[in-house]
């Protein structure tokens, strides 16, 4: 399951994963993309200067693939989208928040293992 890596670390750790083709949430599109979404949405609140966010970022990308069709997954840069971050009381990042029917139902604060994210997501989706 896990990788034994001898990969190029510059590629893995220096932001490159953050601008992949998955969704980017903003103050402008948050209502449409997240709050009105028919499927549950996982939002990764992050910022470029946040080291633990860089650790979480590739895990979020993997979750997007693993939960394809069941979950919409995307990122929100708290520096550029302060209003949304403030609305949801984000005071520490990474904060990964699961929204169902427009409501935040689970908030996971701090870098966690993929297994842990999956456990929390599965529990929240089932309830």
């Amino acid at each position: 399951m896990h990788k034994i890596s001898t990969v190029d670390l510059t590629q893995k750790l220096e932001y490159s994963t953050l601008d992949m083709a998955d969704l980017t949430f903003t103050d402008q599109n948050f209502a449409d993309e997240v709050l009105q979404s028919q499927t549950p949405v996982l939002v990764d609140f992050w910022a470029a200067w946040c080291v633990p966010c860089r650790i979480v970022s590739p895990i979020i990308e993997e979750l997007a693939v693993d939960y394809s069709g069941k979950l919409k997954v995307g990122k929100l840069d708290v520096d550029a989208n302060g209003t949304t971050a403030q609305n949801y009381g984000i005071m520490s990042i990474p904060s990964v928040v699961l929204f169902k029917n427009g409501e935040p139902v689970k908030t996971m604060i701090g870098a966690q293992s993929k297994d842990n994210y999956k456990k929390e997501i599965d529990a929240a989706l089932a309830s």
Partner: protein, 305 residues
């Protein structure tokens, strides 16, 4: 089968890996999800030799990791579940898979010691933090306290003062144990105040931090203080809980026998998980190199016998 399995990816573990791989020992390093250790949560490190202008903690850890990778260290960026040191080869289980190694170096470091007062745990990430470089930006224009009196408390306060309206250091004694240069920076900063002989007894607020209950241990007076953020920097707890058969002292620091050996033959130790005294990046790196050299010598002895 690995020659050496290293547990931990701070300066101790990564330095161990640089040494073992350069000794041509097949090395697996279990880095953990939050790899890089405590320095990932710092900003400018000014006391690591070789960097006259200082270096950012995360940059230093990335450089050490690249150096360990260059010589062939294999990394797993997951937390290990359990270890079994009862039989040779030793076994380390990570995400359900078991890895075997002839020798093990424990370099799991230490993690934040929380205040353990009512109202704290449920507000971590809701105004309670142990990482000003991570979270200070969310306290722009707000009022904060830092609890502690060592170098890390001074750094937290200094970083916070760039964002917060006010920073008050709450310290239970009447003097700091921090280094002179760090103390000076704090005491000369107009945004930072100090409350001496004071302890946080409770963190108040619904869903987020709204205030603290303070106790002055000189006057025995209790008072309330409205506050938006509580940054905890009262020290660290060694990460030794997963090692059942390894001897520790009462505080959990692994006991060192004769040159970085533990009580278990073939299991070595380096860094903050055994060091309650210095706790520096550079001493951790030094311990890492020493433990690696001992492991190398031990493996040579094992091959010869």
């Amino acid at each position: 089968m690995y020659d050496v399995i290293i547990l931990g990816s701070g300066p101790a573990g990564l330095t161990s890996a640089i040494y073992t791989t350069r000794a041509d020992l097949k090395t697996l390093l279990i880095a953990g999800v939050k790899w890089g250790g405590q320095l990932q949560l710092t900003t400018l490190v000014e006391n690591f030799p070789g960097f006259p202008e200082g270096i950012q903690g995360p940059d230093l850890m990335l450089a050490m990791r690249k150096q360990a990778e260059r010589f062939g260290t294999e990394f797993i960026d997951e937390d290990f579940d359990s270890v079994d040191f009862s039989t040779q080869p030793f076994k380390v289980t990570v995400a359900g898979k078991t890895h075997e190694g002839k020798a093990v170096i424990i370099a799991t470091g230490a993690e934040t010691k929380w205040l353990e007062v009512p109202g704290e745990k449920e507000k971590i990430g809701r105004g309670v933090s142990s990482c000003a470089p991570c979270d200070a930006v969310f306290f722009r224009g707000k009022n904060t306290i830092v609890v502690g009196g060592g170098d890390s408390a001074m750094e937290e306060a200094t970083v916070l003062s760039k964002f917060a309206d006010s920073v008050t250091i709450v310290h239970r004694k009447d003097s700091f144990r921090a280094s002179e240069i760090m103390q000076k920076r704090v005491l000369e900063n107009p945004k930072i105040k100090v409350l001496w002989n004071s302890e946080v007894k409770e963190i108040k607020g619904e869903g987020k931090v709204e205030g603290v209950v303070l106790f002055n241990n000189k006057t025995n007076e209790t008072s309330q203080m409205p506050i938006d953020g509580v940054f905890v920097a009262i020290g660290h707890i060694p990460n030794s809980g997963k090692f059942k058969d390894i001897e520790t002292d009462e505080a959990g620091f692994i006991k060192v026998h004769d040159h970085y050996k533990t009580n278990k033959d073939g299991v070595f130790v380096a860094g903050d998980v055994h060091d309650s005294h210095y706790k520096q990046a550079v001493t951790a790196a030094g311990y890492g190199s020493a433990a690696a050299l001992e492991a190398e010598r031990w493996l040579e002895g094992m091959e010869a016998s």
